[in-house]
Symmetry: D2
Subunit: 284 residues, 4 copies
Amino acid sequence: MITPTATLLVSCPDRPGLVAKIANFIYANGGNIIHADQHTDFTTGLFLNRIEWQLEGFNLPREVISTAFAAIAKPIEANWQLHFSDSIPRIAIWVTKQNHCLLDLLWRQKAQELPAQIPLIISNHPNLKYIAEQFDIDFHHIPITKETKSEQEAKQLELLKQYQIDLVVLAKYMQILSADFVTKFPNIINIHHSFLPAFAGANPYQRAYERGVKVIGATAHYVTKDLDEGPIIEQEVTHVSHRDTVGDLIRKGKDLERLVLSRAVRLHLQNRVLVYGNRTVVFS
Amino acid sequence: MITPTATLLVSCPDRPGLVAKIANFIYANGGNIIHADQHTDFTTGLFLNRIEWQLEGFNLPREVISTAFAAIAKPIEANWQLHFSDSIPRIAIWVTKQNHCLLDLLWRQKAQELPAQIPLIISNHPNLKYIAEQFDIDFHHIPITKETKSEQEAKQLELLKQYQIDLVVLAKYMQILSADFVTKFPNIINIHHSFLPAFAGANPYQRAYERGVKVIGATAHYVTKDLDEGPIIEQEVTHVSHRDTVGDLIRKGKDLERLVLSRAVRLHLQNRVLVYGNRTVVFS
Amino acid sequence: MITPTATLLVSCPDRPGLVAKIANFIYANGGNIIHADQHTDFTTGLFLNRIEWQLEGFNLPREVISTAFAAIAKPIEANWQLHFSDSIPRIAIWVTKQNHCLLDLLWRQKAQELPAQIPLIISNHPNLKYIAEQFDIDFHHIPITKETKSEQEAKQLELLKQYQIDLVVLAKYMQILSADFVTKFPNIINIHHSFLPAFAGANPYQRAYERGVKVIGATAHYVTKDLDEGPIIEQEVTHVSHRDTVGDLIRKGKDLERLVLSRAVRLHLQNRVLVYGNRTVVFS
Amino acid sequence: MITPTATLLVSCPDRPGLVAKIANFIYANGGNIIHADQHTDFTTGLFLNRIEWQLEGFNLPREVISTAFAAIAKPIEANWQLHFSDSIPRIAIWVTKQNHCLLDLLWRQKAQELPAQIPLIISNHPNLKYIAEQFDIDFHHIPITKETKSEQEAKQLELLKQYQIDLVVLAKYMQILSADFVTKFPNIINIHHSFLPAFAGANPYQRAYERGVKVIGATAHYVTKDLDEGPIIEQEVTHVSHRDTVGDLIRKGKDLERLVLSRAVRLHLQNRVLVYGNRTVVFS
């Protein structure tokens, strides 16, 4: 699996022949499929598909694949994306003061668990600059106040453009993005420190403690205009007991947060996540 | 551990000497402690304690222990309960139409996992009468409508009294008990088919499906006047994916529900659960 | 998904065009695929595939599908099975004295979680006959001694034939089947009461206790001539602590055993398990 | 809980009055107990106890507590340890080439999850020296060959003495310590990359893959002369599937390893682990 692959993510109204159509497109051009998975959502009548094949021996030049597949996609009214495994996405990680998710992502990137470049870290506080320096990554401190928010978001968007960022990862960024920002840059993954929809909003660990729950969780989701309501990619939980103080919940939660966020980012980077409505198909 | 034991559950304001005081009471009377566990809740300043000792060789006759301990409990302002392991509690199981939790509890009682008698099953529907007959347990069909609710609750209370019931287990009883009922009979455990506080209220699996969660759960809690807000005893979760329909969530949820409910009932019967405020200490 | 479906399980040497070939076969005959999943095992160079489609609207009559697909399968050197969702398999459950797995399977069959008939229970002890009677299932008591084993196995094989059994489920059957028996009837699922390969053989809970493990497990696997070495279908685990006696491990283990066994049987009945070498692909 | 505490870990033959004796010792000297937990192992007849109290207001000077408690411990034939929460243990971390456990421990120490100093890193390879430098910790490269082993172990022991090390943590140190070494320095925690006793020895992930298990695990244990046989402190597991290659098992295993090892080290540092025979009581 060392040779480069192409991956198609396709969703369209279900009808007979879709698997054959897509598989034939690849086979007819000499491609060898290494992963093919499909899901039919019967409540929405949607066909959702992921197909990955080796580019070695594939007869179509890369730059032509899109055009060629478009001819197939149009009559079946498909939404689709095409990705190449050797075209490495560029991530911007946004943080505030907590370092655990940031360090975890950076370590995994170095350990080649995350097929991505990370050229940019943005924070509303200067605290984590030293980590950016350690890893030789550009760090931009962009403080946010109510008054400066829209102006600062413009600056952030400018940076994303300048660094050619494909994906923003909110790794404990404790600010809410405006609806306008999300519209302009919709490719954002956030980690929420609770098992959504429980304890949406602020201070989830304090509220979990007060409610006396026996399990806590963390949720990675795409960011939409509605806070904490975006499509969920991954969730994980751990047991807690009466012995756990709020501080213990926060400590245990950190382990969940870094696991869940890194899994979600990895799945996204492998083009295994397909969003439809407010739900995701995770082809794993 | 075959010989009978006594168990004290104690909660009182924290101060030095409490462990010694309680342990001395038992030792001075010749008791051998087989389980002692305590928890200090620093946010409320409460000392919470469970202590269990063998009655064999204990110098105080059973009927005197309460009086003797009351003398110790008063100056430390303690709330406390005394239980004997060979005094078997009597459970009424309440159901509607689903049989999985009922069957599970009955099987565990037969398998001696639950130290309790189950002389009574109450249902607002007649469907599960055949199970009561199979296990030779009295079954009372008490249908509930808005109009008859208060009258029928009076009947239910009368039955609990008549059968000398110590604990009501709501094993998928799909009716809400009135605040008045809960005040008159406060010893009730319910299974809620979600990971509370997520999806409190009706149709949690449908709503979990719509939200696209990746984990579902079940919650066993004591019933209070506030629906789905009582102290949580036990929670468990399981992973789900886009492949799971609402029907699959319901199926997987049933496995969670019977596990969680039976664990909670067992913990309660072993006098391992101490409620304070809206929280529980589970000495396990 | 109420209408009947056909499912093909295919394994063959990997080469380009396999997904297309199989999908085309179905599409060309008017079938609508509702589940298609494939896996390529790069260490063995095997292509492993599951494809399920609706028979409604499929142009080939059922009795012809096998012959038609054989023509495709031969040149690609495929091993394959064809199953129809409305052809309900017949299960024989084998037990000894413990009833938890048996009752769980019977309850799930009644609850329509297991698409199978269960016409036969075989045991080397008479203890669980009462359950067979309750569920109106034939019960055969076939005691086994060293001397009578081969003779009794002949009797067992005869019964499997007579009842037209497709699958034997060893639901805590505490006897070892001879290699000869397994050769003659290879379709057998067993539940082993440990997390294999830990504690293979006898008394796993006792040995787990002695080793002081913090997690115990259960394993459902196909039975082969080598005891506890067959292909694993499903495993599950639970945490234990120093407080758990051997009796507690056994009790907690029962919950694992019934969950794991029923999941494995369900996956098998849905034709989601493909064995290759000593491994399984579980298309779930 | 900010004020310093003392903790007693006690094991002795079970008899009446032990809880009272120990609690009285603390109360009589004005101590306020903040954690008391005991376990009776009925198979060995052992009483095992952990008790922690605030030193503020305790009448005995620290240097006298040991002598005073010895008078109580002697007649009850107790093994016991006394620890002060503000006496910070010194850890040496031993590594080979993999950095994930090392980085995790260092991060947790900085995040104040591990109440310890880490003045020393020892490795049989030079690869991770850069991390030691980043964290400003002394790094000693001590290569091991069959011929030099005993000589190098002498050097290692000398370093442990020189740095006044209390605990050695083998954080993926891929060398076996000699029985002699373990006798001379018995306070060692190791992370084994499998769910022991499954896959003891070398290459556990490769063997787990070949066996086709559906769950993998990691085990933290104290090191004894018998390889992979020491008392288990903590175990954790995760699900895997046919899609996971050996490389995926290794990747998922790393997450388990760092979680399990750090939990075990934390429990040890909080004096929550009591070893008896080849088992542990974990008072958590």
